[in-house]
Assembly symmetry: D2
Homo-oligomer: 223 residues x 4
Amino acid sequence: MRLPILIINMKVYPEVLGKRALELAKVAESVSRELGVSIAVAPPVTELRLVAENVEIPVYAQSGDPVEPGARTGHVPLEFIKETGASGVILNHSENRLLLNDLGWLVNRAKSLGLETLVCAPDPFTSAAAAALEPTAVAVEPPELIGTGKAVSRERPDVIVRTVELVKRVNPSIPVITGAGIESFDDVRKAVELGTQGVLVASAIVKAKDWRQKITELANALR
Amino acid sequence: MRLPILIINMKVYPEVLGKRALELAKVAESVSRELGVSIAVAPPVTELRLVAENVEIPVYAQSGDPVEPGARTGHVPLEFIKETGASGVILNHSENRLLLNDLGWLVNRAKSLGLETLVCAPDPFTSAAAAALEPTAVAVEPPELIGTGKAVSRERPDVIVRTVELVKRVNPSIPVITGAGIESFDDVRKAVELGTQGVLVASAIVKAKDWRQKITELANALR
Amino acid sequence: MRLPILIINMKVYPEVLGKRALELAKVAESVSRELGVSIAVAPPVTELRLVAENVEIPVYAQSGDPVEPGARTGHVPLEFIKETGASGVILNHSENRLLLNDLGWLVNRAKSLGLETLVCAPDPFTSAAAAALEPTAVAVEPPELIGTGKAVSRERPDVIVRTVELVKRVNPSIPVITGAGIESFDDVRKAVELGTQGVLVASAIVKAKDWRQKITELANALR
Amino acid sequence: MRLPILIINMKVYPEVLGKRALELAKVAESVSRELGVSIAVAPPVTELRLVAENVEIPVYAQSGDPVEPGARTGHVPLEFIKETGASGVILNHSENRLLLNDLGWLVNRAKSLGLETLVCAPDPFTSAAAAALEPTAVAVEPPELIGTGKAVSRERPDVIVRTVELVKRVNPSIPVITGAGIESFDDVRKAVELGTQGVLVASAIVKAKDWRQKITELANALR
């Protein structure tokens, strides 16, 4: 994970239904090249291969299941994610929470497969717990701000500061990413000033009228 | 769903990792054409689009999530399944069980989206419950026989007979499919003789040394 | 289950914390005797034994876990419910939903243990599915009306009528109970007129200023 | 939590069905007094009040639900546990695993209610994560050894040593308890020698022919 980073979680918004996910990824790739800023995208799992095969920026799965390849129906083992060409996986997003034990298993297995892990957590204490598992990075996202347009970096700077502090205490080498409500240049700047090394953004980009403009705005704040 | 049918659940066996899933689907398509027997395939979700775009036999998702498109991370709404070109979805497989209420919601929503539904159930009573939801078909699969090579049609013919009877009582228009342990021509024949209209097969095909030979053997029993 | 019946789900409202649950059960018992109306209570599981040992009206657990006695931590097998003296269990309440397969297992096991089962369902189709499992009774409760004071019998009489119709088609011997939003004499009357044989009530009673008065009002509508 | 401690998880073994749970608790209380060793018991939730009201040693719930008192059916909020007289709660036992986020919420809420928390974890990394949440204590229990009679302290001393090391790094004030397979005086001694401050035991005691003898044997190793 090249830091600082802008990670775009496409979720399963109707705006990225089907091949629109690839279009968004292409825009992100183009802005990343133009500005030299690290940008990653997390498309819907049904489009993971399509996107991973057609862009050169890092592609993340939005989740992964705590199972090995085998007699499992409807699950997504990390091996199948890896095989699409994706380079990492988001784990424990507040919309897709994981059992602590499964999370520990997944972070460990991802490491052995060479997949990066971005573990989300809702508050400073659980972020510290996530850091103890030694993922590639931790993203703190107070769930009550997700999708609101009220940036955590503006509304609850204390949450970010405290998260950075607790994570550093557990393991100073784990970077913290800021999520929830991020939608403007200033929100991203603030997130960086508070000690985090990137942002995780969904609705502000996916639902923007002009994808390129919005991605450029946010990426510029990371230059 | 054209009956009788052979439905191949690829699960996430290592044998179908990545593009091998498409190879298996291609073999199934070829046998289906050759013999004129209805065959459907259910590939891993990461390969759903790849398979659905490249074969003309019916393609089913192995599962679907009870959510609408929107702010959901890592889920698979039925709309995203439909968009890949798949024509149906397997629900409540014993390896991916669903809440009764979610199952009711999914069957109903699939219907409104024009997706077929194959609802699995472990025994006669839950099969009858599944039939009450009015899916396209019900598959009875005693979980203790799944993946064993001990065909339910040989080992527990009473389970199948009783399932057909209870499902018919609830709604005589819902076809019953036989699953669990099916691995030979005779197993399929027996399943049909007991009143079911097809078979759901996984390991016997996926792990066969010769996919074409095994699919041909089982499909021949449905002619 | 003596019909028609008023079933009081105490949930875990602060109003029934600790021994207050027994007080409410005592009031219900007293009204039941006075009016000769069948009333059952479902206290918090921490008070199940206390209540079951001290009242003579039927006592139901609010839920049960799909496990046998053994190496399970924090679960509530049906055997442990039975042992407290409770006579039944509510299953699949919309606040405690169950996997279809587990629900089938639980209804069956409860039967073999001599425990009654009240299976909740959110709509007509899932109610029919629940009926196919042959529980003691089915309670239809549209989740969007629970706790609102907008009685399903007034707001959505069509839901009740359709539920009674579909359940009857599946198994005419399974009684239907009306839940969600019931709070007055008229609501209960209406539920009975629409073909159901009792009501499942929570907040209207638990949060009433005068428990005796409210229980009397609702029970009177079942005379 | 007075350390070192012997914590008896009764699970829901048939041996502690109904009031037998109180009998076992009484024996534990008697041994605790006799030897002056700290012993706590975790009875089935249906007997939690009965036990908590009748013994003076610490009583723990086997689990708790991440909900506040209110419109919840079949759940066990921490407030209801506290009200029975219990003094703590076991969280995230491998037979009752919790979402990381819920675990964080529960540990925090328990603290504010004055309830102790024993958080279980299957391996060193998740134990460290659990410690980051600042519970009263962490119990490391490799799930593959639970109930086997193969004591983790004998079979996998490396797991314990590594857990103590990682937990200490995260927060040196959180004690570690050893669980899984403990069944003899030597197993307990070994657990203490490896740096842990007590043991969590289930089957070895519950299924012993002579409860008093077995509890005495294990408690003696903590003197």
